[in-house]
Structures are given as structure tokens and as C-alpha cells.
């Protein structure tokens, strides 16, 4: 195991952070506006989100760089800003984290489908390798919310070119038992393929709430000797009077997270609908 991960992973589990998008909206991000662009235009507000997670007790915080690969940024007219946006993202999270938290840089999917021929394998590899290189000042790279195992495999190979530890995390929300990725891969297939591609940590995030991710976590744990990373949503979104509401409370989320601890998960945090309050509740429930 790489030294950064070895230092973090003691006997207990590691609490990561929660959602960024909703926190940025609370800071005034408009619908349809590219959150990552804020690394250049509103670094102070992005820093406040990072700081809120450090203050809540996150040992690992991510970066506001989820969409900052060339293919996705092109849709926002920012394809020529890849390096700047990613470097700024790491610098912002690092300034908030200081010595109190590690900075793992976020890399999301391209949003294009390989099997439809919308992008080629070479283009995807180049886009992720370019982003990963621009994120080199982070402590690790997190490939998250991946829906296509083939794209995730390419992303792992690209991220590994930096020499940084790589966490590879996919969404499991499909099939009647909600235990497959969008493209139909099982936790066992995901663990096998991503470990072989060189991932240092295998994970699951987004798509499902805490309760539904416990069986997925157990299966990932059984399928690999690598550490497991899990970030569920605060349940599924509901629309109430025109506003989006996630029903799961921080207390309930943290209580159910005991199941992840029992499953032997190494890294626990939250995805959509979670906030610094969820991180504080995880602390109280899992590390007390």
C-alpha cells in the first residue's frame, strides 16, 4: 500500500467529506453554471465549502474538480482551462485542509459513452491523464461516480501515470436488486477489473442511500483485499413544493453507517444531499 494510504488507515475507519454541489449552490452557484469554473472565479466560496468539511472533522476532503477533464469542460466552454482549474482546485482544498486533512482530488466521468462511439478510448485516456497530471499536488486521486467499468478502467490506468494512489469508485443503482452499475457490472466484476488496472482502493458512491450500499460494501469487501471506499447519498431526492429534498437525516445516515463499519469499510463519507452535519454525525457514531 502506498504510504499516504498506510498513514491514514489505522485500526479505525477514515471519515471523508460530503456533497459539494449543494454546498456551492448555498453559496450562490446558479443552476447550469459549471461548479468547477468557480475555482477560478470564486475561490473564496469554494474554500468555504472545503473549510466546512475540515471543521466538521473530515480526515480526507476532495476537490472541486469533478468535471475538470477536457471532454466535460468543453461542454462549458472551458476546455482550454483544464490545467488552471485543476491546479486551483487542489490549492483551494489544500489551503483549507492545512495539516488537519488529506486532499484527495476528484475526477468524474466524461459524460460520453465509449460504446456509442461518442469518444474513443484514446481520447478518454488522454483527457484523464491530462487532468490527473494537473492534480499532481494532491495526496491521492479519486475516480468517482463512474457508471461504465470500461471508462473507469481507462481512468485508473491514466491516473496511475502520476504515481499517486488511486481510489476508483462506481455507482451501483441498476438492476432489480440495485447491485449493478448502469452497464450491468457486479461489485465482484468491478473489484476484479479495477484492481487489475492498478486501483489502490475500490469504492461505491452516489445513486443509492446508506441502507442499500451496505450489501454492496460487503460484496466489495469480500471480492478484494484492497481498502473499500463508500459514499452514499442521503436517500433519494424528492420534490416538495418545487424544492429538492433528501429525506435521510444526518442522525439516521450515521446510525446506518454502523453497517459499513461492520462490513470492514475503510473510508466512509457522503454524496448527494449530505453536508458537514453528516460528517459530524458520522464522527459521533463511528469514532466515538
Amino acid at each position: 500500500m502506498t504510504s499516504v494510504l498506510a498513514q491514514l488507515l489505522g485500526p479505525g475507519l477514515v471519515i471523508t467529506d460530503g456533497a459539494w454541489g449543494t454546498q456551492l449552490q448555498a453559496q450562490g452557484l446558479q443552476p447550469g453554471e459549471c461548479p468547477d469554473g468557480w475555482n477560478l472565479t470564486h475561490p473564496d466560496r469554494v474554500r468555504q465549502v472545503a473549510q466546512s468539511y475540515v471543521d466538521a472533522g473530515s480526515s480526507v476532503i476532495l476537490t472541486n474538480t469533478f468535471r475538470s477533464n477536457r471532454i466535460t469542460l468543453a461542454g462549458h466552454g472551458l476546455a482550454d482551462r483544464v490545467e488552471e482549474i485543476n491546479r486551483a482546485g487542489v490549492a483551494i482544498s489544500r489551503s483549507a485542509a492545512g495539516a488537519r486533512a488529506r486532499v484527495f482530488a476528484s475526477m468524474g466521468p466524461t459524460g460520453k459513452m465509449l460504446m456509442m462511439g461518442e469518444v474513443t478510448e484514446e481520447e478518454v485516456f488522454a483527457a484523464f491523464a491530462e487532468q490527473a497530471a494537473a492534480l499532481h499536488a494532491a495526496d491521492a486521486l479519486v475516480l468517482e461516480t463512474m457508471t461504465d467499468l470500461e471508462e473507469a478502467r481507462i481512468a485508473v490506468r491514466a491516473a496511475k501515470t502520476t504515481g499517486l494512489p488511486v481510489i476508483a469508485s462506481m455507482v451501483f443503482d441498476s438492476g432489480k436488486d440495485k447491485d449493478r452499475t448502469m452497464m450491468g457490472s457486479t461489485p465482484e466484476e468491478v473489484a476484479g477489473v479495477l484492481a487489475e488496472a492498478g486501483a489502490d482502493v475500490i469504492g461505491a458512491n452516489c445513486g443509492l442511500g446508506m441502507e442499500d450500499y451496505i450489501p454492496v460494501a460487503q460484496r466489495l469487501r469480500a471480492a478484494t483485499s484492497l481498502p473499500v471506499w463508500i459514499k452514499p447519498n442521503a436517500g433519494l431526492p424528492e420534490l416538495v413544493d418545487g424544492h429538492i429534498v433528501y429525506r435521510t437525516t444526518s442522525a439516521e445516515f450515521a446510525r446506518l453507517a454502523g453497517g459499513l463499519k461492520d462490513a470492514g469499510v475503510a473510508f466512509v463519507g457522503g454524496c448527494c444531499g449530505t453536508s458537514p452535519a453528516f460528517v459530524r454525525a458520522l464522527h459521533a457514531a463511528l469514532l466515538a
Partner: protein
């Protein structure tokens, strides 16, 4: 007929080369194109849908079958059009204003094409005005809107309102989909239907155009 079963199998297994070849051979042998569609191709796509619902097929299988269906339909459609046959329906599809996510929208578009619909794909970040212009110009009877983000799904509401304000609401059916979308939301904004996956979207589209 044994050879025609090959077309059914090619679509079911997503082999677009065999689908195209078999279609060419059948047409050269004088088989009625309408019969090919009704007796082999649509039943094959129905079986694809059944397997998807049964967890035997996932998105990749849906996609390759839809692609095989499309390859075959491209040969057949001109013949049907020459006979005056209309497509199953004419759909204007797009991801709504402010939203750049197109995977779900592309899946639904591919499945609708596979089901014999004429699909007018407006892409992503589509404004209400663009939807309305396309509806009018292409005489579509169905609008399909997609949104991935909770922050952009409100654009579905404004698009429905704009379609009403433009006076064309009674000419079209509106269907919506995407991760945050629910039946309740569809009801709230006055859409005619909602589907939570690309396969069910085809059944919904058929139902709406038949209504």
C-alpha cells in the same frame, strides 16, 4: 421461415452486420418489408425489453440491439416511405436548458429509433424556444425531455409552460425522464408521462402516440 429467424436473432443478440445482411437478402427475395418489421424486428426488440426488465440484459445489450435494429430499419424505411407508410411517431427529444448530460437522452433516442420512431434529437441545453421551433417545423407529435440534475429539472416545467403559451400543447404529448424525475413531478408540471429507463420509455411513447 428459417432465414427470417436469423434477423430476429441478430437483433436480439445485437449483431448489426448480420441484421443488415439478412435484411438485404430478405428484401432481395421479395419479402414484404412491413412483414419483416412486424413479424421479426419488433418482436425481437420486445424480447430485448423483456430481458432488460428481467435483469438478463443491461444497457450495453439494449444499445447493441437498438443499433442492429436501426441498421435494418435504415434499409427498410425508404421502402415503407415509398408506400406511404408513416413512422411509429415523430419525436423531438432533448436535454433541457442548463443541463449538459446526454447519456440518458441518447439511450432513449436510440431505443425509440429502434422501435421505429423518427427521432429529432436537439442535443443538450435545449431552450423551450428550440423545442417549440422543432415541434412546429417537423410536425412532431411527441416531445421527450431529459434532465440529470435536480437543479435543472425545473427547465422541464418552464418548457411545458412555453409549449402551452405557444398554443401547441394540444398537438403533442410530452414525456420526461432522468435521475431526479418522478411520476409525481410529471403530474405536477403537466407532462403526459414519465419513464425511469430507456426500455420503458418506448412502451410509454407507443402508449402516448396511440392515445
Amino acid at each position: 421461415m428459417e432465414d427470417l429467424k436469423k434477423l430476429y436473432d441478430a437483433i436480439l443478440t445485437g449483431n448489426f452486420k448480420i441484421a443488415r445482411e439478412t435484411t438485404q437478402q430478405a428484401l432481395a427475395a421479395g419479402i414484404d418489408p412491413q412483414a419483416l418489421v412486424q413479424q421479426q424486428m419488433i418482436p425481437a426488440m420486445d424480447e430485448v425489453g423483456r430481458r432488460y426488465e428481467a435483469n438478463e440484459y443491461f444497457v450495453p445489450e439494449l444499445l447493441i440491439s437498438a443499433r442492429a435494429m436501426k441498421a435494418s430499419l435504415e434499409l427498410i424505411r425508404p421502402l415503407l416511405a415509398a408506400k406511404g407508410a408513416e413512422p411509429a411517431g415523430r419525436v423531438v427529444i432533448g436535454t433541457v436548458k442548463g443541463d449538459l448530460h446526454d447519456i440518458g437522452k441518447n439511450l432513449v433516442a436510440a431505443m425509440l429509433e429502434g422501435a421505429g420512431f423518427e427521432v429529432i434529437d436537439l442535443g443538450v441545453d435545449v431552450s423551450p424556444e428550440k423545442f417549440i421551433a422543432a415541434l412546429n417545423e417537423r410536425h412532431a407529435t411527441l416531445v421527450a425531455m431529459s434532465a440529470l440534475l435536480t437543479t435543472t429539472m425545473n427547465s422541464m416545467k418552464t418548457t411545458v409552460e412555453a409549449i402551452k403559451a405557444a398554443g401547441v400543447r394540444q398537438k403533442v404529448k410530452i414525456m420526461i425522464g432522468g435521475a431526479p424525475v418522478t411520476q409525481k413531478y410529471a403530474d405536477e408540471i403537466g407532462a403526459d408521462g414519465y419513464s425511469n429507463n430507456a426500455n420503458a420509455a418506448v412502451a410509454l411513447a407507443r402508449k402516448l402516440v396511440a392515445a
